[in-house]
């Protein structure tokens, strides 16, 4: 199994290497099929692993392989892979979505300027994500975390000639960096206290009381429980960045600048799933307070993004905000302790959101070709106001859209219903379970189910709005409409596969009860016990009880609110009983707020980026005018002055002494040169005189 996992990890990297280093030779010879082939082999291997796991059906199954990477004596860093049921399911999801996206891209990206490079980047993206899935330690996850960041940057900015695409890539990268800082700090705190990055060992050591024993000593007497809360939230910050949680969600809608299949990959299986997956991995050592924080961030994100999605006109923007909202759901689920539900939603969401994006890509592709046919380069092919009535022209895409919209809206018989219902029941149970602390005092915990059900209603509303605007009604641009064609088979087959996977029975087998999520999934994925022993932690047993009680009321309510959302959508956009324009005017500020994404981008630009740049500017000026001018240059001037003094002393005293000695010897030489006559006889006389003098001196 470990060998299979290693193959799954490295095969996509092989695809990357192949595409990057041999693209010139294969560009015209269908080199992309090598990558598609590799990806499908990966998928088959992943399915083999899934089969092995299902035949074992052991919820506690796990395998670990680790290899010492850095040994500093007291501190060791191991790299390795850890496989349990969650890993296997996630590997299948990543491999499946990636394979389908590869297949789909062969048609969607045909004729692109950097065709083979695109496939290479898809490969490294898949590789990085597999690395995160297989990682056994925070450290290894961090390595692949950054690789995912890099590959998302490369793919979002694929069409970098467009300023907006280049900026979107940059924005995604930098926003993620903000979260990563937190994650890294959290990792370091954990590693400092426990001396390990390994997930299993962290949980074990916290459980054995190592944290309680070490934390206070190492961090100046801080309460160990508080420190654990802080560490958990800091690591979770990484997930806030990657999984686009409020307030770091701003990169995700901009990431729509990338090619649509990339959006599908990012939103369904790779990048945004990474954050949720990380939260799943750190779940056992989150404290109750950390989980409450996570739950509130997730819940707020869910409702916040949903309200924005209502008013967007760009088909991909609607889906982008819906992704943010659904990610909020998953995070909220994990925060409330509905571990299985959160991960379940990650998997079901991967299927239907992957399908939604690929289907919207199919629509955009058709629009694009039609516009190309008309030689029209002005009209936006992604604007839903230019579509309408497409269902007759693109029946397969329409069918897939219907199925997956039903899934995301939480309609029974589809996968989204099961997972969303489980999450809502989780929030309900959580709220009912809170009896003490700050959450209980004002019934604050009940905000979470309110957020959850509200977001469910809004999701149903805006998804059906999208359907009605795109596929129903009159064609708004008859010219464009005339040339719309259904997409080729390589694009529709992935759509159909994903639509089938959005059916409920895919996740409930062997049971076929459409309203109960008891099936293979809930058998192999079970919530881990919390390892936290330092203070209030998540209590699995209580929660399971409350969950059981909340199941039915939550389900009824969720069907009701979804129905309400759909009904409202039908009234406004299908039957035109209520005019959207009038409603927008009536709601005024609310409409503008939603349309402008609650001014979050403006807040960042005006509230953070501009003041920051201004601050930098002021500091720069301070540097130039004061620091450089007075201190550095002043020091220079002083040095120059001192040097001049020293130079003078040098000239006068030292050189003077040297020259004086020179002069004396010059004078001596000048004097003595007169006895140097060159006449041998003179010298002889001097010798004679000298001898006579010696004689006189000796005798007398």
């Amino acid at each position: 199994m470990i060998k299979l996992a290693l193959f799954i990890l490295f095969l996509p990297l092989l695809s990357f290497v192949f595409q990057i280093f041999s693209f010139r030779r294969f560009e015209e010879k269908k080199g992309e099929w090598v990558s598609v082939g590799i990806q499908f082999v990966t998928l088959i291997l992943a399915l083999v692993m899934l089969g092995m796991m299902l035949s074992r059906s052991d919820p506690n199954f796990s395998l670990e392989l680790h290899q010492s990477w850095l040994d500093l004596g007291l501190f060791k860093i191991d790299l390795g892979i850890y496989i349990d049921n969650i890993t296997v399911i996630m590997l299948v999801v990543v491999a499946l979505i990636s394979a389908l996206v590869h297949l789909y891209s062969t048609a969607y990206m045909a004729g692109d300027v950097r065709f083979s490079r695109y496939f290479g980047f898809l490969g490294i993206f898949t590789f990085s994500m597999n690395g995160i899935v297989l990682a056994n330690s925070l450290f290894m996850i961090y390595i692949f975390w950054e690789l995912v960041g890099l590959s998302s940057y490369l793919l979002i900015g694929h069409w970098w000639e467009k300023d907006s695409a280049a900026n979107a890539g940059k924005k995604a990268f930098i926003t993620n960096r903000v979260g990563d800082i937190g994650m890294f700090t959290g990792m370091l705190i954990i590693a400092t206290v426990l001396g390990t990055f390994n997930f299993q060992m962290i949980a074990e050591r916290i459980h054995d009381g190592v944290w309680a024993a070490n934390a206070g000593m190492l961090f100046g007497g801080i309460d160990p429980h508080k420190l654990l809360t802080v560490a958990g939230i800091l690591v979770f910050m990484g997930a806030v960045g990657k999984s686009a949680q409020f307030p770091l969600h701003v990169w995700l809608p901009d990431a729509m600048e990338g090619p649509t299949p990339v959006s599908a990959l990012i939103h369904a299986a790779t990048m945004v799933a990474a954050g949720v997956y990380l939260t799943v991995r750190i779940f056992p050592f989150l404290t109750a307070d950390a989980m409450a924080t996570i739950a509130f961030i997730g819940g707020f994100t869910a409702i916040y993004a949903a309200t924005i999605a209502i008013t967007q006109n760009d088909i991909k923007k609607v889906l982008a905000y819906s992704t943010v909202s659904q990610l909020g759901y998953m995070v909220m689920a994990l925060g409330t302790g509905a571990y299985v539900a959160g991960f379940f939603h990650l998997v079901t969401h991967a299927m239907f959101k992957g399908a939604l994006f690929l289907a919207s890509g199919s629509v955009i592709h058709a629009m694009h070709h039609s516009l190309h046919h008309l030689d029209d380069h002005e009209t936006d092919p992604q604007d839903m106001r230019n579509m309408g009535g497409l269902r007759t022209k693109m029946p397969i895409t329409f069918g897939v859209f219907m199925v997956t919209t039903a899934a995301i809206s939480g309609i029974p018989l589809f996968s989204g219903f099961l997972s969303k219902d489980a999450i809502l029941a989780g929030t309900w149970a959580y709220a009912a379970n809170v009896h003490d602390g700050w959450l209980a005092s004002l019934h604050l915990a009940w905000i979470l189910p309110v957020f959850g059900f509200g977001a469910a209603a809004i999701t149903a509303f805006y998804m059906f709005r999208l359907i009605f605007m795109t596929f129903y009604g009159e064609a708004k641009q008859p010219q464009i409409f005339k040339h719309i064609k259904e997409s080729p088979k390589v694009m529709t087959i992935p759509l159909i596969v994903l639509a089938v996977l959005s059916m409920f029975f895919m996740f409930t087998l062997p049971s076929v009860n459409p309203i109960s999520d008891h099936g293979w999934f809930t058998t192999v994925v079970q919530s881990p016990e919390s390892a936290v022993t330092t203070g209030p932690a998540f209590e699995l047993e209580h929660f399971e009880h409350a969950l059981h009680a909340a199941h039915t009321p939550a389900m009824v309510t969720s069907i009701l609110v979804a129905g309400l959302g759909i009904l409202f959508s039908v009234l406004v956009y299908f039957l035109n009983k209520i005019s959207a324009e009038k409603l927008a005017v009536k709601l005024g500020a609310l409409y503008r707020g939603s349309f402008n994404k609650w001014y979050m981008d403006e807040f960042y630009i005006n509230g953070i980026i501009r003041p920051f740049l201004k601050g930098c500017d002021a500091l720069g000026r301070f540097d130039l005018d004061f620091y450089d001018h007075y201190l550095i240059n002043g020091w220079g001037r002083n040095t120059k002055r001192t040097s001049k003094g020293v130079g003078l002393a040098d000239d006068l005293i030292v050189d003077g002494a040297v020259n004086f000695a020179g002069i004396i010897f010059q004078w001596l030489g000048w004097t003595l040169k007169f006895i140097q006559t060159g006449k041998i006889q003179n010298y002889l006389i001097f010798v004679l005189i000298g001898a006579a003098m010696l004689y006189v001196v000796n005798v007398f």
């Binding site: 006559t677 060159g678 006449k679 006889q681 002889l684 006389i685 004679l688």
Partner: protein
């Protein structure tokens, strides 16, 4: 004539004459002759001291050395003088003062 002093006086006279010749003459050959006189004054001294003071043959031996040396010196010196003449056309030592520069 069996007193040391008579030999020494003779030797001193010879030395003085030789020195005088060397210092005053301009002609290089004459200077050479003066040098011969000085050397022979030394010879007389050696032999005299050998006879009256040490009573052995060391002084005699030394004087034979000096005669031989004088012959060699005369050969070298005359060769120099010959070259000087070839070079300058005269053998006036006063003008052979290139060492001054």
């Amino acid at each position: 004539m069996d007193h040391l002093s008579s030999y020494l006086v003779l030797s001193a006279i010879l030395f003085s004459l030789g020195l005088y010749t060397v210092v005053t003459r301009r002609n290089a050959v004459a200077i050479l002759m003066g040098v011969e006189l000085i050397l022979n004054a030394a010879n007389i001294n050696f032999v005299a001291f050998s006879k009256f003071v040490t009573h052995n043959l060391d002084g005699h031996l030394m004087s034979v050395f000096i005669i031989m040396l004088a012959a060699a010196e005369a050969a070298v010196a005359l060769a120099i003088v010959l070259n000087l003449y070839n070079d300058r056309g005269h053998i006036n030592v006063d003008e052979a003062n290139a060492l001054k520069q």
